[in-house]
Symmetry: C2
C-alpha cells in the first residue's frame, strides 16, 4: 500500500493533509524497525511527482568538477545501509507549555527504519571538493509559501561538511528494502543519521557546495529561539543532534491494570552516542529502578527496554522513564521551553490506575 | 438567546455536547461580569427540563422541622446578590503534562457574574438545625452514569456547615438580572462563592442536613489524587477554595506586534482573599514589573490589571503574569500535577512575536 494511503487508512495519525504530516499513534516500540506505513511523515509542501527516468542531480559550487548524476548513476554506485531512528524536530511539541505554534505532534513524529543509498562523501569526492568547502546546501524540489516566508521558496537546508564526510550520511533510495515511497522523498532523499529529521531533505533537486552555512528560511526557522530573544541574534543555536530521549510504549495513558506483575516496555535513543541506562519510576520520582536494556544495534537507532513492575497497591500512578546516553546526557524532567517547540525530550510520564475490578 | 444556543452559535467553545460542557474562547477580561452567554457551562449529565410551578425543594435530615419550599416560596424570601468568579475545578487541565483524563479545558472554564438568590443560612434556619449538623448534602435532579460510577447516580455534593452559614452562599435563581437559564441550573442552583464550580450544584432537587461529610462518587472524585497514591487513602484533600490565579487576556497567543507601546491586560482572582499584586514578565522571568491593579469589587470576583509595555526590540517573548493574594499565596510556575487535573493555577504564559513588517 502506498504510504499516503496507509496514512489515510488510519495507520497514521494525520495532523495535516496538505502538506502531509502524519505521526504514529503510539510508536510501535516492539519491533526493531518501523514498517514503512508506520514511519512518521513530515512535509513542508505538497509532495512533488517526480519521474526518476528524467530526473538528475547536479552537484556544483565549491567543487573542481561540477557533475550531474542520474537515478541510474546513483543506483550503480557502491551502496551503504544505515538503521536509523528519525525524529521530527517538533516531536512532542504538544507536551510543551505554553503551546508553541506548529504541527501539534504528540510523541508520534518518530520512526525507525533501515535506509539504503550512496554515501554523500562518495558523491562529493566525484565532484572534487575545493579546500574552501565548509558546508553543503541540499535543495528539494518541493516548494510553496510558509507563514512569514515572504514569498514562495523551495525546502532547503545546508549541513556542515564534517557531518557529510561520515559515510553513514547517505543519499537514500530505499527504506526497509523497498523503493522510497513518494511521501518519503522519491526518488532520492538525504539521510543525516543522528540528527533531527529536518536535515534529511526529501525530493533532492540540487546539491551546492558552499564556503559558509547557507542560512535561508528553513535553516533560520529550525533554531532554538528562547523565551526572550532578539530575532537579529544569529548566535541562536541550530537544531541538529537528537537529544537523549525515551518513551514508554506499554502500558499506555489511561490504562486500568489489575494488581500484580506488569511489564513496562519502551524505547530509548540519542544522537550523541548509545543509551547506557534507562530508569523507571512508578512512585512520582521517589525511587528509580534500572530497566533491562537491549544492546545498541548500530550507532543510530533506538534500544528497547523492559522493566518488571509489581503493582502492589490499588490507586493512581505515573509511570516514568529516564534515559542516559554514553556521553552522559540525562533526560530532563522538563525540556527547556523554546519558541518553536523543538527538541522536546522531557521525561515521558504515563498516568495509569491499578484497580481490582 | 438561550445559552445552549449561544454556545452552539459559536460564542462558547463546546468541549462536549451531551452533557454540555462549554468554555469561553478567551475569558472576556475587559468587562466586570461575563454576559450570560459568555459564562462557561459544565454539566455532568443531560440538563433536566424542570417545571418551576410544580417543583419544590425538601430540606430534611438533622433538622427540627423538615420543610419543603416551592419556587414561589424562595422568590418571596429576602434576596441577596453576590458577584462571583466561578471557575471549573478542571479549568486549564489541558495545560498540565502529562495529560489528565477529563474535559480538556484550556483556560476558558471561567465566568464572572452577579447571582441573586436566598442565603442557604436562612433556609436552614427555617428548618431549624440540630446541634449534630456538620455538613449539608445538595442533590441535583440531573442523573446518569459516570465512567467507573458502577451504575446511575444523581449529581450530589456535600458542603461543610461553616461555608453555608456565610450569607453569601445562596440558592440562586437569577444570573445578571435574568432568570437562571436551563444550562445554569433552572430553577434553583446552589452558589458557593470562592469555591471551584463543582460545589455549586445545579437543578437542586433535595437538601439533606448530615452529621458527617457525605462522600459519594462526585465528592470522592473531586480530590487532589497525587501522582502516586493509594485509592483507599481517605485523607486525600478535597477540591474547595479557588487557588490564586491570573490570566492575560490581551495580547493573545501567537500575536504579532509592532515595536512600541502595548497594554498587557488581564484578570486575577483568589478564593482566599483579594488580589494584592500582579506582576508581569516579558523577559522569561528575568525581571518582574508590577501591573496597575483594580480595587476588589466585593470578596469573590476577579480584579482587572493592566501593564504598559514598551516592546523595544524585535524578536520573541513570553508574556507572563503572576498574582499574589491577601493571604500571601503566590501563583506557582507549575501547579502540582494531580491525577484528575484539578486546580491548575500555573503562571499563564503567552508567546508573542515583535516584528517591524
Amino acid at each position: 500500500m502506498p504510504d499516503a494511503e496507509s496514512a489515510s487508512a488510519g495507520k497514521l495519525n494525520v495532523l495535516s493533509e496538505d502538506p502531509l504530516c502524519a505521526g504514529v499513534f503510539l510508536p510501535n516500540t516492539d519491533v526493531p524497525v518501523s514498517p514503512i506505513g508506520g514511519h512518521f511523515i513530515r512535509s513542508h509542501f505538497p509532495a512533488p511527482q517526480i519521474d526518476s527516468s528524467s530526473w538528475s542531480l547536479p552537484i556544483s559550487g565549491e567543487v573542481d568538477n561540477p557533475i550531474e548524476l542520474s537515478y541510474a548513476d546513483l543506483l550503480a554506485m557502491p551502496s551503504h545501509e544505515v538503521t536509523n531512528i528519525m525524529e521530527c524536530a517538533g516531536n512532542s511539541r504538544s507536551t510543551m507549555q505554553p503551546p508553541a505554534e506548529g504541527v501539534q505532534w504528540d510523541n508520534g513524529g518518530l520512526g525507525a527504519a533501515t535506509w539504503k543509498g550512496v554515501p554523500v562523501k562518495d558523491v562529493l569526492e566525484k565532484a572534487g571538493l575545493k579546500s574552501s568547502a565548509t558546508d553543503v546546501l541540499f535543495e528539494g524540489s518541493d516548494s510553496g509559501t510558509e507563514p512569514h516566508s515572504g514569498g514562495p521558496l523551495n525546502y532547503a537546508m545546508s549541513v556542515p561538511l564534517e557531518k557529510l564526510l561520515n559515510p553513514d550520511t547517505i543519499l537514500a533510495y530505499q527504506i526497509n528494502g523497498e523503493t522510497l515511497p513518494k511521501n518519503h522523498g522519491f526518488p532520492i532523499r538525504l539521510l543525516v543519521p543522528g540528527w533531527y529529521g529536518m536535515a534529511s531533505v526529501k525530493w533532492l533537486d540540487k546539491i551546492t557546495v558552499l564556503d559558509h552555512p547557507n542560512g535561508g528560511f528553513h535553516e533560520m526557522d529550525y533554531r532554538i529561539y528562547p523565551a526572550a530573544d532578539d530575532k537579529n541574534d544569529t548566535s541562536i543555536q541550530r537544531v541538529t543532534t537528537l537529544k537523549v530521549k525515551s518513551l514508554i510504549g506499554s502500558p499506555s495513558r489511561g490504562d486500568i491494570l489489575k494488581p500484580g506483575p506488569h511489564k513496562i516496555k519502551g524505547v530509548a535513543w540519542s544522537g550523541d552516542g548509545h543509551i547506557t541506562k534507562v530508569e523507571i519510576s512508578t512512585d512520582d520520582c521517589r525511587s528509580w529502578h534500572e530497566a533491562k536494556l537491549e544492546e545498541p544495534n548500530g550507532n543510530y537507532t533506538w534500544q528497547h527496554f523492559e522493566y518488571d513492575w509489581n503493582a502492589v497497591s490499588v490507586g493512581h500512578s505515573l509511570l516514568r522513564c529516564r534515559a542516559t546516553d554514553s556521553a552522559g546526557n540525562v533526560q530532563p524532567m522538563l525540556a527547556t521551553w523554546n519558541f518553536r517547540g523543538y527538541q522536546v525530550n522531557s521525561i515521558h510520564s504515563v498516568p495509569i490506575t491499578v484497580r481490582r475490578d
